[in-house]
Amino acid sequence: MDALTKHWLNLREQLTFNEAALPSIKQAAHELYTNYGAMLLGYIIEVVKDRPVAEGYLADIFSGLSVGDIQYIAGTPDGSTYCRLQQYTRNKLVSFVNTVDDCADSPDNVTIRGNRLIDLMTAEQQLVFCGVHYHGKSVSSLANELNKTSDEIRQILKQSFNIIRSNRK
């Protein structure tokens, strides 16, 4: 167990719903913000395609974190804290996600295409990866859209991850 996980576990112990624990909630939110705020803002910008709006969402997400949310995001020793925070954000943005154009529908959108990793993906891989990651689409809906089987969509998604990994290592 690394030091950060231990720290989060200690913090989780303090996070019980009572008056005395309220400053701990703020402290926990601040630590999440310090560690992942920039990464999350980058993600939200890609979802909403508007920086000031994304900053507003970022503030709303961190202000709205409850004790239970923080316990789930930061206090779970297994897995990535960032991924849980991103999942939480995705759920909060679900209403917005459906109103945003797809990557393929907005060819003039340079935000995602300006990213080195996304640029390395083929058009089809971008469509699947962005559809799932930024637009919250399900595998089955993408399969219907692209006239492919769910297995094929998952394989395309896997290929997208392979591209990211080959650049990570």
């Binding site: 920039a38 803002l41 503030a59 202000s63 991924c83 995705r90 799932v132 990651h133 990570r168």
Partner: protein, 162 residues
């Protein structure tokens, strides 16, 4: 079999949050039973973090200030609600013949808290202490001087008597 499952793309779907409920259930079971699945998942989460780091955009400095203010406001509201719904504690009935009940007031902490008014008392004690010390030094020196003069006078008287 496990490798086939890892290569199926279900893990990627899970990490991006687009796996179905049954897929999530199956994945959690597989993760618990097979460490290879857990390792593969951790790799995918690292990929997601890497992508997020690549696309990170630093928020303006004022953003945390706004969040902090919002949290403070929520805290105050919750505090008020807690106080509003707090039940008044029922008064303890004294059992007949048992006499008064005493409450243990000694806390576990070795520190104590006192009223701010005491700082003036401590300041006064400190200043008075300094004044008394000054007087003590003054009278000690005076006394030493007087003793010396007395000794001198005694010597002179003895010399005159001779």
């Amino acid at each position: 079999m496990i490798q086939q499952y890892i290569n199926s793309g279900i893990l990627e779907a899970y990490v991006t949050g687009c796996a179905s409920e049954s897929e999530v259930k199956e994945l959690l079971r597989m993760k618990a039973e097979h460490p290879e699945v857990n390792i593969a998942l951790k790799e995918l989460e690292a990929d997601m973090e890497f992508l997020a780091q690549q696309m990170a955009v630093t928020p303006p400095l004022s953003t945390w200030g706004k969040i902090s203010d919002d949290i403070d406001e929520i805290m105050l509201r919750e505090k008020r609600e807690l106080q509003q719904f707090k039940q008044p504690e029922p008064k303890q009935q004294e059992a007949p013949g048992t006499g008064p009940t005493y409450i243990e007031v000694e806390g576990a902490s070795s520190h104590m808290r006192i009223h701010k008014a005491w700082r003036w008392v401590f300041a006064a004690v400190f200043i008075l202490g300094k004044i008394f010390l000054g007087f003590a030094i003054y009278f000690y020196l005076e006394n030493r001087q007087a003793q010396k003069q007395l000794q001198k006078l005694e010597t002179e008287i003895q010399q005159l008597k001779r």
